[in-house]
Amino acid sequence: MSEHNHHVIDLKYLLGAAGALVVLTVITVAAAYMDIPRPFDLITALTLAFGKATIVAAVFMGLIWDKKINTMALLFSILFFFIMIGITLLDTLFRDRPFWVWN
């Protein structure tokens, strides 16, 4: 039990994670200077950001070794954020498409 909770994260994971984050940051900036066409530049940037976020959460925050419930909490918050933005966009993106324009 104790080892489980008080898991001491191996130094190589911590340093590895930091290294990976720096590399990904450099790639993010580089990708921004390349002329990737419109929607894809954003998609690249966000994919990279999600990758970095996963590293931070998994290694630095220790979720890999931690109780599942903590990971669930984080995932829940993200789910509800997506609910909030997703449903709001159903309004803001579709305002100029009312029924009376359809016929």
Binding site: P98, F99, W100, N103
Partner: protein
């Protein structure tokens, strides 16, 4: 009998979609009443039948019953699908004006309604529409959010600043109907009512022409001022007979001494009146709030007309 009850609790049916709305209203009421009656009867019956007889009563262990649980999941499920579908259909109607609808522009202000007809005629707090023809309202607000509501038509739509919203209706005949503002908009919210007059289409055309001619005529300044007083909504806040309102009465205002919240006083001469109309925030009368909108967009002639009109009210 349902019809009688409906007449007691719903306003008159005066537009093409009112009947459908009332139908759904009745359906939900009846369905709810049946379920509620069931629940209530069960509660009362159980309370009497199974009342405690002694402190040692032993009760059976009943933890679950799949049939029952399924029943009271599925029956409500079916009911809500019906309610959704019915409401959806009615709503689509309300959002789909026929393409031949007669278009009127509506501007909401704190606290009055302005209606602008295709030929440029403007009215305030009085909406004339041709009876039996579809009418589409294209609405915008000058300041905060208001809402356009005619109970007799079952029509309601918020009116927003910086954007058009739309409502439409078709009356079933001629008649007068009240318009309410149903989005809270401040001090005068509950006085922001107006009237719809549905008149025969021929009569309507004649009315529209007459208004057009009237507005082109040369009128004496004070008369013009009186019209502006109605059209610009001054009437919503300023009375002419001394009765208190959202703003000070115009009765006896001219050349009277005014007291301001910053402690100064001033005689209400023509220049003061002009300033009060164009830049009302500059001096605030004691006992009133700084809520009068600026009328800087009025032309000099119009302001002059208003001042002449105010002068005459003694």
């Amino acid at each position: 009998m349902l019809e009688t009850i409906n007449r007691l609790i719903l306003p008159q049916v005066s537009s093409t979609f009112a009947a459908d709305v009332d139908g759904l209203f009745t359906f939900i009421n009846v369905a709810s009443a049946i379920i509620l009656l069931g629940i209530t009867v069960a509660i009362i019956y159980f309370s009497i039948k199974y009342r405690r007889k002694s402190e040692d009563d032993v009760t059976p262990v009943i933890r679950y019953n799949t049939t029952l649980e399924l029943t009271w999941t599925i029956v409500p499920f079916i009911l809500i699908l019906i309610v959704f579908g019915w409401g959806f259909r009615g709503y689509i109607d309300m959002r789909t004006p026929p393409s031949n609808a007669y278009e009127i522009y509506v501007t909401a202000n704190s606290f009055f309604w302005q209606f602008t007809y295709p030929n440029g005629v403007q009215t305030t707090d009085e909406l004339y529409v041709p009876a039996g023809r579809p009418v589409k309202l294209i609405m915008q607000s000058r300041d905060v959010i208001h809402s356009f509501f005619v109970p007799d038509f079952r029509v309601k739509q918020d009116v927003l600043p910086g954007r058009y919203t739309m409502a439409w209706f078709q009356t079933l005949g001629t008649g007068e109907h009240i318009i309410f503002c149903t989005e809270y908009c401040g001090t005068g919210h509950s006085q922001m009512d107006a009237m719809v007059y549905a008149i025969e289409p021929e009569e309507f055309d004649a009315w529209l022409r007459e208004q057009r001619e009237l507005s082109e005529q040369e009128l004496p300044l004070a008369v013009l001022g009186r019209n502006l007083y109605q059209q610009q909504g001054c009437a919503g806040c300023h009375s002419l007979d001394g009765s208190p309102g959202i703003g000070p009465t115009f009765q006896g205002l001219y050349m009277n001494e005014r007291q301001f919240t910053n402690g100064t006083t001033r005689i209400a001469d023509a220049e003061y009146l002009r300033e009060s109309i164009v830049n009302p925030a500059a001096l605030i009368n004691v006992g009133y709030n700084n809520i009068m909108p600026s009328y800087a967009h009025l032309s000099d002639d119009q302001v002059a007309a208003l001042i002449e009109f105010i002068k005459e009210i003694e």
